[in-house]
Symmetry: C2
Subunit: 242 residues, 2 copies
Amino acid sequence: MAAINTRTSPKKESTIVDAGHSFTEENYLKTILKLSEQSEDAVSTNAIAFRLGTKAATVTDMIRKLSQKKLIHYKKYQGVRLTARGTKVAWAIVRRHRLWEVFLTEKLHFKWDEIHNIAEELEHINSEELVKRLDKFLGFPKFDPHGDPIPDSKGRLSRISRTTIKEMQIKQTAIMTGVIDHTSPFLRHLEMLKLTPGKEIKLLRMLDFDGSCIISINRGEETYISSLVASNILVSIRNEKV
Amino acid sequence: MAAINTRTSPKKESTIVDAGHSFTEENYLKTILKLSEQSEDAVSTNAIAFRLGTKAATVTDMIRKLSQKKLIHYKKYQGVRLTARGTKVAWAIVRRHRLWEVFLTEKLHFKWDEIHNIAEELEHINSEELVKRLDKFLGFPKFDPHGDPIPDSKGRLSRISRTTIKEMQIKQTAIMTGVIDHTSPFLRHLEMLKLTPGKEIKLLRMLDFDGSCIISINRGEETYISSLVASNILVSIRNEKV
DNA sequence: ACTTAAATTTCGACTTGTCTAAACATTTTA
DNA sequence: TAAAATGTTTAGACAAGTCGAAATTTAAGT
Ligand SMILES: [Mn+2]
Ligand SMILES: [Mn+2]
Ligand SMILES: [Mn+2]
Ligand SMILES: [Mn+2]
């Protein structure tokens, strides 16, 4: 299970600011960003190791390196936080990932559960110009196929208020704008139900004893979804402030 | 000048046949293919080292590895040749490279001298399905932006007879179908002259004392090109057998 | 043939990214 | 607050890819 992925970019061109991170470094940065979003606390060694499928010892080494490069703040045993620079670099990677995901679905017609792994590789192609042109080619999309926001070239990202179906009021209407669970089985299930970002969802009933929901999609017939499914679907309710 | 590029693909999916070559291995295979095309002889260690910007010692190591994997034939001090399998793998990489080049020019509007380095990275994204869909998206192109043939998914490639302008007869007409020199300065020079694949070229005069040529492009006004330029432009003359 | 010269391989050695086992620090929990 | 559990770092090793220097082999020259 050795998933090695090294690259010492000899890119002398590219942006002066921040070029030359290996595949591996980039994956660590992205992972730390993801984990940072999930809680205020510093990100733990174990959490990183788990998400990356490596061991804690390995993470400690990389943490040292990233810290030396001033991409993360680190004090022994205290976990890590991205620096301003690290944050910028990490978002740039996420931007590339999500733009490629749009490309794969919109242009190559991949299904939304097939794109993640390919984008996981494409995101490391490190050319400022490539990303700029890809963005334009795709029409400057604001969200990826899973409903996640794509930061613009300056790192600004459209934040919209999102809750799960579970938190909706009965008879309330909302637009589906994303998923929490990104795994293939879940995505395929949603596709089967024709429950994809952009659809209008009205919560008709929520069953007391197991929390499952009856909804209508685009004002069509009633659809039953389990509590688990409902709690993994993100929706935006009109007229809501962030 | 350490241009490292490692990857041990943990791809368990993908084609059963031939997956799981590192970036580095792929670059060696492609290089050996290129050098094989330039002469009948076995490819020498030094030639590979030179093209890859590495040292002979390094090449010897990789050669052993590739040989062990049955991708090349190798006897000490005798140079290497691709096996049937190695040839297939190498052409698949070339195919990906050239398809991405088409994408970069046709869809992202890169100039033909800017695409090589980016394609050099994209070619290693190893997904059968991705390449298949990209090919379709691009309309199954037969040639890349430099006029080089793109093998189809079975490895078949359209061979057309090509010579340089220097070998044309006076008053003869031909279609530009490629370049020998692929460097940026040369490509930019040709672009400035509007001398790109597809153009109709008529050789009007060839000067004796320095071999420079006067040609017309698409029946337009006369254009002067040096002997060096003429010898680096590939053309196809109608009604010629391979 | 015998002696150079050139190309190739072998021999340590270094860098990245990884792992296991053992040591050390911080938290829990009784 | 002291012992136990959990989390993190250190130490030693390994595979991949690379290099310089030295040893070998093949090719050339006379
Ligand atoms: Mn990745
Ligand atoms: Mn996504
Ligand atoms: Mn390459
Ligand atoms: Mn090309």
